[in-house]
Symmetry: C2
């Protein structure tokens, strides 16, 4: 179970209820596990939540009943929670549960498959009117509350200390895979539940691939090595990248590194409440362009962090059909700033930090040095 | 990328094409990443495949083009692959791609959200007739081919060696978390890409919870400790559980352990081509019942292994609405046998091995000893 205080959960429930009422729904069926975690502190792998004006009905199977019972009377207890035990099919139990007094039921269109929707509609056979909704819970999650900021700040502090230790794991003659294992061990020893994603260790020419996987290549004198890793701390994800030079950096290496570092600084400086996320991306992109490196930066500048390692807001350029969500960032949002430059055959550089939008502007949550390290 | 030989990929394509033809479809849109891996060897995190009578059209973004190009001319190249580069939205590119000569297009109803289906249908506006399909690729995946059996056999052999090393990580005074980290390190050092799931280390009373998460509890004299871990080897998952006794096992511990071990043996002996998966489950359950432990075994006896760590066949009892899939197991299927006994407040035992159904009966792929270890 996660540890959001009951009062925070209550506020989240009330915000969902306001949205349910505004849409004329009797209840919302929540099938996204990250959304369920946000509303109830539940960290298991199977549940459905039905939230209505009064109750939070929690459908789960016997495996998880003890974990939920253990939170009763604690400061992290989910308010107004009714456990509904599922013995066979979750969807069959849901259909049975809904077939009561409720009529207009919202469901999460982005978190229910076509097959499940089809089965439920057929089975409910008009007893319930299912209404597609999107982003009801996600729109709350994008602005972090005090508990979440506290947790993400602590997670980022711990990950920054990991970053400092990680540098020593990069040694000539070690394979990328060995370095990745050493990094993952540091992450776990720092109190993270697990890694937030598969750690990237991309050395030499591999560093030109933003999503390289650690392989058998051996770290060699003169390599640039991109180290991109993250951890899940009390259910919240943080994410950090540093690029190190094995041996003294050549002039071109230093040039590209400093260009990326400047782009990272420009993007961080562009963060403020009300600022467009496209504008923050542009700050990084134009900074790289001034060094002739705009074409070397093919991905977005950042992504939101929270219960998921990639969530809103997306700090990117505006693409039709994709970036249709709200443009302005707001106080309480937490996201990465991670510009890079990738040069095929030569290598690459990425520097990534995690930032919080504050009323005053920005707080950089990760505080590991961004100076180029020469190992 | 995974390493299925091109000829195996061709056979998989032909099997899908036969099914497409039988259903009167012009093509199948594959959106499940495990299914895409099965058909193309692609291990990245974003792609859509459209397979028709002649081609395998592969929609992906610039991040993955190099990885695919690098397979050209290798023994693992995907036959008849046409890469279609996605620059913005995958679904927008898919809609544009489909709006050609094809009419009746199958989609994977269990792997497309209601929201995506709705958007695609609206956008295609009658230009294409989308037909819901289920299990076309999964029904192929359930029976492993020679390459997959070779890979799973090697993975299980390596995991068995890990199991032998893992016993030494369980020490009095160590926390469950520390033991879990040590196990995960052994898994990675044994050549697995990563763990197949979050490792379970459940000691003392925690062992009564089948899905316990490793916590701060310290391993103590007299504990039973359930160790459940798995690895991904060349994209295939294996999974193994052993329960060890810290110190000399009390009489009751030995009784329960031997009852679970006997249930594991009975279930393994029940495996044969054509045998009902419910019957295999019953073999374990009745064996436990003969020791008065049937109520202590609340979960199914096993699950299929392959590209996913939980896939068909499910070795369980027949539940309405859930277990509607084929009943008989067949040669080439690979699944776990993992009976357990969980006694609240006292602890628990689980023993898990991975088996292959052969023409002759059964081959146990994991070969670590099942004798009770007293540490």
């Amino acid at each position: 179970m996660a540890h959001a205080p009951s009062a925070a959960l209550s506020r989240r429930h009330e915000a969902v209820r306001a949205e349910i009422a505004a849409r004329g729904l009797d209840a919302l069926v929540v099938t996204s596990l990250p959304n369920i975690l946000y509303l109830t502190n539940f960290t298991g792998s199977a549940a459905i939540v039905v939230i209505d004006a009064e109750r939070v009905s929690f459908l789960t199977d016997a495996r998880y009943v003890t974990a939920i019972d253990d939170t009763r009377g604690t400061p992290h207890e989910c308010p107004a929670l009714d456990v509904v035990i599922v013995e066979g099919s979750y969807d069959a139990r849901l259909a049975e549960f809904l077939r009561g007094s409720m009529r207009r039921i919202g469901f999460e269109a982005a978190h229910l498959t076509f097959a499940r929707h089809h089965w439920l509609t057929k089975t409910l056979n008009g007893a319930v009117e299912p209404i597609a909704t999107e982003h009801i819970v996600e729109d709350l999650r994008v602005v972090k509350d005090d508990y979440e900021i506290f947790t993400l700040r602590e997670a980022a502090r711990r990950l920054s200390r990991v970053a400092e230790r990680v540098v020593a794991t990069v040694r000539r003659g070690r394979s990328e895979r060995e370095v990745a294992l050493a990094i993952d061990t540091h992450i776990r020893q720092a109190g993270f539940t697990k890694c937030a994603f598969d750690t990237i260790v991309a050395s030499g020419p591999h560093a030109a691939l933003p999503h390289a996987r650690p392989g058998e290549r051996t770290i060699t004198e003169g390599d640039l090595v991109v180290l991109d890793f993250g951890g899940v701390y009390d259910s919240y994800c943080v994410d950090l990248t540093r690029t190190v030079s094995v041996g003294k950096a050549a002039a071109r290496v230093r040039e590209v590194y400093e260009a990326v570092r400047q782009a990272r600084n420009r993007a961080v400086e562009a963060v403020a409440p009300g600022r467009s996320r496209f504008e923050i991306d542009r700050a990084a992109r134009e900074s790289l362009a001034s060094h002739g490196l705009d074409k070397a930066f093919g991905h977005g500048t950042g992504h939101g962090l929270g219960i998921e390692v990639h969530e809103d807001p997306r700090i990117t350029w505006k693409r039709p059909d994709v970036d249709t969500r709200d443009e302005a960032v707001a106080a309480g949002m937490v996201f990465t700033i991670e510009p890079g430059a990738y040069i095929p055959g030569w290598g690459g550089v990425r520097i990534e930090d995690d930032v919080l939008v504050t009323d005053a502007g920005v707080e950089v949550l990760t505080d590991a040095s961004t100076e180029l390290m020469e190992l």
